[in-house]
Amino acid sequence: MTETLPMAGASANINLAGLSKNDYRGAPSTLCQGCGHNSISNQIVTALYEMNIVPEDIVKFSGIGCSSKSPTYFLNRSFGFNSLHGRMPSIATGALFGDYHLKGVGVSGDGDSASIGMGQFKHIMRRNVNMVYIVENNGVYGLTKGQFSATAEKGLSLKKQGENQYMPVDICMEALVSNATFVARSFAGNPKQVKELLKAALSHDGIAVLDIISPCVTFNNQMNAYHSYTWGKDHEEPLHEISYIAPRNEIMLENEMADGEVREVALHDGSVVILKNLEKGYDPSNRYDALRVMEEAQSNTWMLTGLLYVDTTKPNLTSIYNLVDMPLNRLTEADLRPAPEMIDKVNALMF
């Protein structure tokens, strides 16, 4: 529960929704000092504030794990459901039927989504539920003190666990082959890119997967580990620089855009993501290309970041259901209970 009402106290920094950044904050984080997850929470706050989205229009979801604790640390004024390990997708799927005008923001982890929750992860992709699905990916289980997760690379060694013998799961590839309509990867140590991708994801009408490599400072931050800051900084290979432009023109294109080929990706609400391609001709609407660059990155041990794939043509889940305009959770007995004379019709239908 927030202690702050909107407009409480005069602030110079009020956005178009009439809210200050404080209105987007959450409780103080209880995660480890320096955890990448905290940086992501901050970018969620900033992105929503800058996009003038009212917190009441967002619903937060999470599963179980360090990452899943983080929805407490942003958007105090949004409803939130910290669900079961690996089961965030089903909770979100049902909850967003309550009011289809709302947008989901889910935070999960690599254990939560790539191990115990792999089934639900893939099924929420194919259902195209209208939410941002963030995977704070560190390759390790934190709350149970340092076991390998399914995204840990083969050969990684951890204290107590020895060497990981198995091939890793690639969140973005799994999302893509499950027909996700928005797939992106970023690195917690690159807050600007995280924020721009978050804004694009929030504008996407459907499931938007953000695989954010978010090193675990306590259990997996060895120099040579794929999910470490050092490795991440050295190996990050941005697919393109990215800028997000809101549907209205208030936010201007940032002027430090480098020269080079520029591609605009229009999102459903009229906003645009502008990609500056590093790789000439990369087309994020092409699934084949997306898979190809991911394969390439894997074989070169690059950490490929940016918007890998987007498809704005597919309807989201609730719109398939042709629901009434009013949110379902505002309907009353008059809308929901058939009229008394219908009982005779029903009895007549029986033999």
Binding site: F79, E333, L336
Partner: protein, 637 residues
């Protein structure tokens, strides 16, 4: 030979997947339309095609239509079960068989009737060759109709209903029925005693299965979200929702006020439903035992997070490869204790198709009032078989959405509220849901470990406080769940407790115990957990209480023993579960075997005395009911 009228069973043995269900339902419906109380039970294997399967019909003028082990008329269409079917006929019974099965008739104490099924079908030019096997079953309908006096017009009405008034299949099937009847008239001589005669005992009644009734009840309860996953015997509940929602919740703008999502598994099915319930929708799922196991973690979460959701469990036997197509009451203790840590479940126990409808809508009221998962335990027998029923009744109370705060309420409270704060002393907090635009409306939902304002806390006193409130809330639930139903007798010496689909068997056993053994009983059918005050009162009345149920260990008895430990010595478990629907025989025999105490000896003497005048009465034909009942009884013995 004395006629036996409107009091016998018909069992049809066929090959699974041979299309006999149309024929069997036609017989059932025709007898129902003749005004005779009747039941039909499909005893089928877990198989799509090939294994033997049976369908039993019981017509009984006194309304005793529980499953009956006795096989009066048997129709054998399956060579693989022929010998077994012939052996199963009661002495004096009738045996109809397809004459292409060339197996010996080894019995002389039954009336055997060959039926030229294949010949009749081949001689009908209107039956295309690829329909022959299915329509062939109509031959036995026709032969039987002639032999026992089943009204041919009622058969037509049944076919008209089955084929939704599509003339072509109606004619094709009805012509074969007629051909069968005509052949029987010309060629068979009646050698058995079984006859149907029209009555008026089903006037104004309907026929439906419990899954459809549950679905319809849910629709009248305003269901808005259904997450489900296919599992026998619950599948047809969700499918009925899919069938009837578009008709019953049709709007002029063509838009929908509901969503039905087939999930990837039962975990997701309940997860979605809990998400929807949390977001303010009337949400439900339907499953059976194995699916409920998968839902356990979510059910526990919903208990602690206090999310309203309705979970139907259409019970079957055992795990995946148990007896998945056989009925059971084996999930009661599991449902009672479902979850983790301390938990208590609210469980509704419908006893027939009528209550499946009623509890269908009521379950949402209870779930939203108490803010907890409500389990509705049905079973395969109730869920998948056709039962006669009073017509469904429109809900007699308005929807109870429980304690909800909207923007205007929060405005009034100046945002001063706590999700888990017990403002009314009944253990139930107020809830808000997503989409509420008041800046103080939101809260963060997690399992346990939260204070009155849903803030994270691992403090011991906060936890204890919350757990005490949950217990208080469960106590409150007693005011909202359905009270038991009683069937009492004058001078009852013992109590009987049961629940669910066994009622018909128990009423029959109660009647037999009084008539043949002088043992009058009072019967209480429990319809919900937690137990209401009526249960306390009933338990206090009797020295001996028989708790009857369809499982091995006596699960209701176990729960009663833990809830009422001081009364435990009175409880006698009559538990039996072999996959067949309950019959009066095992209820009666079970009770007689365990009935003890001071009155046992005198009860036996009374039996003899009481039984004698009963026969005298019947001879004088004073009361129709007793007369016919004991007549057929005497005859059979």
């Amino acid at each position: 030979m004395n006629k036996i009228i409107n009091d016998f069973s018909i069992t049809v043995g066929t090959v699974n997947g041979s299309g006999s269900s149309t024929a069997n339902n036609t017989i059932l419906r025709a007898i129902f339309k003749m005004g005779i109380p009747v039941s039909g039970k499909n005893l089928f294997p877990s198989n799509i095609q090939g294994l033997p399967t049976w369908y039993t019909i019981r017509a009984n003028k006194d309304g005793f239509i529980a499953h009956n082990e006795r096989r009066d008329i048997v129709i054998a269409m399956n060579p693989n079960s022929f010998a077994r079917d012939l052996a199963s006929v009661a002495p004096g019974g009738a045996f109809f068989y397809a004459d292409d099965i060339k197996q010996p008739i080894t019995r002389t104490d039954v009336a055997a009737y060959p039926m030229p099924v294949k010949t009749i079908i081949r001689n009908d030019p209107n039956v295309p060759s690829d329909y022959r096997d299915h329509v062939a079953n109509m031959v036995y309908v026709g032969v039987l109709a002639h032999m026992i006096g089943m009204d041919i017009d009622k058969i037509y009405a049944a076919l008209e209903f089955h084929f939704k008034k599509k003339q072509k299949p109606i004619d094709m099937n009805f012509n074969v029925v007629k051909a069968g009847a005509e052949w029987a008239k010309a060629n068979l001589e009646k050698k058995d005693a079984f006859y149907l005669e029209p009555m008026n005992k089903t006037d104004g009644m309907i026929m439906a299965d419990g899954n459809m009734a549950g679905a319809l009840g849910s629709i009248f309860g305003g269901v808005q979200f259904v997450g489900w996953y296919p599992i026998t015997p619950a599948t047809s509940l969700a499918e009925s929702l899919n069938d009837y929602l578009p008709q019953l919740r049709k709007r002029e703008d063509g838009k929908h006020t509901y969503a039905v999502v087939q999930a990837e598994d039962e975990l997701a099915a309940l997860g979605m439903s809990i998400g929807a319930g949390w977001a303010g929708l009337r949400a439900m799922t339907s499953t059976s035992g194995p699916g409920l196991s998968l839902m356990t973690e979510f059910a526990g979460l919903a208990y602690y997070a206090e999310v309203p959701v309705v979970i139907w469990d259409v019970q079957r036997i055992g795990p995946s490869t148990g007896l998945p197509t056989r009925t059971s009451q084996g999930d009661l203790t599991f449902t009672h204790f479902i979850g983790h840590g301390d938990s208590q479940s609210v469980i509704l126990l419908p006893g027939d198709v009528y209550e499946c409808f009623e509890f269908g809508w009521k379950a949402f009221d209870v779930a939203e009032r108490i803010q907890t998962p409500v389990f509705v335990l049905s079973d395969l027998d109730m869920g998948m078989n056709q039962w006669i029923s009073k017509p469904f009744k429109y809900p007699d109370t308005p929807m109870d959405r429980g304690k909800i705060l909207l923007e205007s309420d929060l405005e009034e409270l100046k945002g001063n509220w706590g999700r888990y704060f017990d403002a009314d002393g009944d253990g139930i907090g107020h809830r808000t849901f997503p989409g509420n635009k008041h800046p103080m409306s939101s809260y963060f939902t997690r399992g346990t470990g939260h204070d009155d304002h849903a803030r994270y806390s691992e403090e011991a006193d906060v936890y204890l406080n919350n757990m005490d409130r949950l217990k208080r809330k469960h106590e409150t639930a007693k005011q909202y769940v359905p009270a038991p139903v009683f069937h009492t007798m004058k001078g009852a010496k013992a109590g009987i407790i049961a629940y669910g689909s066994t009622e018909a068997a128990i009423l029959e056993a109660q009647h037999q115990l009084e008539k043949d053994h002088g043992l009058a009983t009072d019967f209480m059918r429990i319809r919900a957990l937690p137990f209401t005050r009526e249960v306390d009162t009933f338990l206090a009345k009797y020295d001996q209480i028989f708790i009857v149920e369809m499982n091995r260990d006596g699960q209701m008895a176990q729960i009663l023993m833990t809830e009422y430990p001081q009364l435990a010595p009175r409880f006698k478990t009559i538990a039996y579960g072999d996959g067949m629907p309950a019959s009066a025989k095992w209820v009666r025999e079970g009770i007689l075997a365990k009935y003890k105490g001071r009155k046992a000896a005198s009860a036996k003497r009374k039996t003899a005395k009481k039984a004698a005048p009963a026969r005298k009465l019947s001879a004088k034909n004073t009361t129709k009911k007793n007369a016919a009942g004991s007549k057929s009884k005497t005859k059979r013995k």
